[in-house]
């Protein structure tokens, strides 16, 4: 009995204090988890704006093309943002701009479209961390994953009575296990 009291007490302490420590990390993984789950519906890192334009500038001559691209950028963006360009095919020139934006110009018609990318604040940073950018973050996220396992174990022990694992908590726990099992049976 004493032993159970001991474990219950320490489960509560660990669940609470480690829980506080990982509040920020939980929010980061929660936000990026939802954002990356719906990657086929939206760009989770950038908001994308498209803008059409028409130009009379000539981009056929490879010697003068750079200068004409800079003149075009004076109209549709800023020449300082020029990064690189190449001919995607015989009729299309692609220009890369700083920050991930780019533009395409049809060499025959002069019609073009700029794709402006703007980082989504919070989402960009959360997604960056979610993708394990380096070894240090891998260690930290491993610690977070271990803490999640600890939270699961301590949540079983820390509450006694009707609201604990032998009562309502047990029903919720069973549901949380049954749902992934049903999913696996149906789709695996």
């Amino acid at each position: 009995m004493f032993k159970m009291k001991f474990w219950r007490k320490w489960s509560r302490i660990l669940h609470r204090d480690i829980g506080y420590f990982f509040i920020g990390t939980s929010i980061i993984y929660g936000i990026s988890g939802i954002a990356l789950n719906h990657m086929s519906d939206w760009n989770p890192n950038y908001s994308v704006t498209l803008k059409s334009f028409t130009t009379n500038l000539n981009f056929d001559n490879k010697k003068s093309v750079k200068n004409n691209i800079l003149l075009l950028l004076d109209d549709v963006d800023r020449r300082e943002n020029y990064k690189k360009h190449y001919y995607k095919n015989q009729n299309t020139l692609k220009v890369f701009l700083k920050g991930g934006s780019s533009l395409l110009v049809n060499l025959n018609s002069g019609h073009g479209e700029v794709e402006y990318l703007k980082r989504r604040p919070v989402f960009y940073e959360s997604n960056y961390l979610h993708y394990n950018p380096n070894r240090i973050w891998t260690w930290f996220s491993d610690a977070f994953a271990a803490a999640l396992i600890l939270f699961a174990i301590t949540s079983i022990i820390m509450v006694k009575g009707k609201k604990g694992i032998k009562g309502r908590g047990g029903i919720y726990t069973a549901l949380g296990i049954i749902i992934p099992i049903i999913f696996l049976i149906m789709y695996l």
């Binding site: 990657m39 690189k84 190449y86 995607k88 692609k94 890369f96 701009l97």
Partner: protein
């Protein structure tokens, strides 16, 4: 004194041999450079070997971030990696070192592709447009093999090793 002299001579001889071996190794392991325009034509000679190539990063796969398309005015090369590529590379001209991979597309490959296409369409994982596009793609492979009187097509790509940005 005599012993010391002999030991010194032996050490010098050993070091000289070592240096000679190193020189030979360096000349053997120097990574060949392929122009991106020549990649499809010459990659067959370098399957499973390292090469270097220059190109502009056109895009990085937004899903896994482990695929990259290297382009020039004349051609493009697909690059795959075990690690995620930095999206900031898009639009940069880079010198990339990679191992040439060969994917063989033959009748068995087309048949498997056909089966997968029907399966994913019947399970609702692909829409009509995607289903028809893939069907057309398979047809193009078969037509190409027939026209060129060959039993397979080799698709070459690169397994990423390292890169450096060019100015």
């Amino acid at each position: 004194m005599k012993k010391i002299s002999i030991i010194l001579v032996l050490i010098l001889a050993f070091v000289a041999c070592k240096n000679e071996e190193k020189k030979v190794d360096e000349s053997i392991t120097e990574t060949p450079f392929l122009a991106i325009a020549d990649f499809d034509a010459k990659a067959g000679d370098f399957v499973s070997k390292e090469i270097k190539i220059n190109g502009i990063v056109d895009h990085v796969c937004k899903h896994g971030g482990k695929k990259l398309l290297l382009v020039s005015d004349e051609a493009n090369v697909h690059v795959v990696s075990d690690e995620r590529f930095d999206e900031a590379l898009i639009g940069s001209e880079i010198n990339l070192k990679g191992v040439v991979l060969e994917e063989i597309i033959d009748e068995a490959y087309c048949f498997k592709m056909e089966e997968d296409n029907i399966k994913s369409h019947s399970e609702g994982q692909s829409n009509d447009e995607q289903f028809e596009a893939k069907k057309q793609h398979i047809k193009e492979y078969r037509d190409y093999m027939k026209e060129n009187n060959t039993d397979h097509i080799s698709n070459y790509s690169l397994q990423y090793v390292s890169h450096s940005e060019l100015e």
